[in-house]
Amino acid sequence: MTARAAITGMGILAPNGIGHEAYWRATLAGTGGIGEITRFDATQYPSRLAGVIHDFDPASYLPSRLIVQTDLWSQFALAATAMALDDAGVDLASVPEFEFGVVTASSSGGNEFGQREIQKLWSRGPHFVGAYQSIAWFYAATTGQISIRHGARGACGVMVSEQASGLDALGQARRAIRSEARVVVSGGTEAPLSPYALVCQLASGRLSDSADPEHCYLPFDAAARGHVPGEGGAILIVEDVAAATAREARIYAEIAGYAAGFDPQPGGGHSPSLARTITLALADAGIPPQDVDVVFADAAAVPWLDRSEAAAIETVFGPHAVPVTAPKTMVGRLYAGGAPLDVATALLAIRDGVIPPTAGVGELGDGYQIDLVRGDARTARLRTALVIARGFGGFNAALLVRATD
């Protein structure tokens, strides 16, 4: 009998709210967190807006011993993990140590920490590089620190596929549950606001150069001109359904289906694969398209990517057949934190029967046949949500969550 995986806890740090209830209140009200980048002086850069988390003091969540050896990205995740474990109410002492794992998503690792050490290397010499560089910058650092802090000796790993990482991490967490794990800390965070990290993102050609925080990130809009980055994300506690039920846990939803794909190079004559990925995820879940109540879009806000995503949604579901939304317009693309935050948002939407809106989008571009939820949040009975995520370079993934009650 294949074990089933459910999400029983969440911890959110987002530009418009720290803690999942604060985030959800702000999101339903359409209150965003995009503004000028404040972590460094970005006035010389062509893109200066981002979703920034103000008022995050690592010392409120972590001992100083951990703060000196971690990047902000891991600090976000450690804080969110504590919130998520508290939310799940799981008694870790009762979980056999090899059945407790950690699989997080990462897109760019410890940017600020790494940049600081690289600057020391090239300006002062190798002896001035700190010892913690060895553990603070690389993609698995967050997984490692969470595992050490909470005694998770089971299946551990990291998934690195840019914005698709978060769904891939949850897919991997589900695999772990089907193997030996009983509890897996999953999801992910991102801290992409250092000069080096911003320059890397600028090279993608996908960043919006708008100076208007309310209208800078407009997916499917006729005026779509790229996205803005954001920091933070969500940590989700994934648990074996049988074990969660036995301890009478509050189950947000089951991870019902998951699939990943890879797009061909643009202009190479082959079709993008997102429609197939979504179809595979539906088949994995045993759910027909008409049973999906809401779609949380990847929402790249780059015209050719928007067209590709809308075409995939229309192909699988039919035109205007299912509500589509992108609350990430309020906070930016959080890369490794983005898809986990979308999944957490989907769980809250299912819990409360309301679809959060897409912010800022006015007139849709020509030919889009999607029911994009804009303006006010929309009340709806929701049991099944699809989350789509695509990563720069061709990664794509789809994940379905479904209420279990």
């Binding site: 001992p63 100083s64 011993r65 951990l66 703060i67 000196v68 050896q69 002896h127 001035f128 590089v129 700190g130 010892a131 913690y132 060895s134 553990i135």
Partner: protein, 85 residues
């Protein structure tokens, strides 16, 4: 060049490994191992790196391995400073 003192080391320990193990450190407890004070091998490497930054001495890998306690660190560094290394 002035001597390397316990207060210098305490400051470095706090910056390198966090405040917790260093705050109560005094002459009597300076023989306690770094490990017992809560500083693991990476933290000791980091402490050694900061000492080299602040006091312009070079601690070889062998020397770093021999830094078992704060009092070890103080005597090793002061030997190097006296020798003009």
């Amino acid at each position: 060049m002035r001597a390397f003192t316990l207060d210098d080391l305490k400051g470095i320990m706090q910056r390198a490994g966090g405040i917790d193990g260093a705050s109560e450190l005094d002459v009597e407890s300076a023989d306690t191992s770094f490990y017992d004070l809560g500083y693991d091998s990476l933290a000791v490497l980091e402490i050694a790196a900061r000492i080299q930054e602040d006091f312009t001495v070079r601690l070889s890998d062998d020397m770093v391995e021999r830094l078992a306690s704060p009092s070890d660190a103080i005597s090793v560094v002061n030997e190097l400073l006296a020798g003009g290394a």
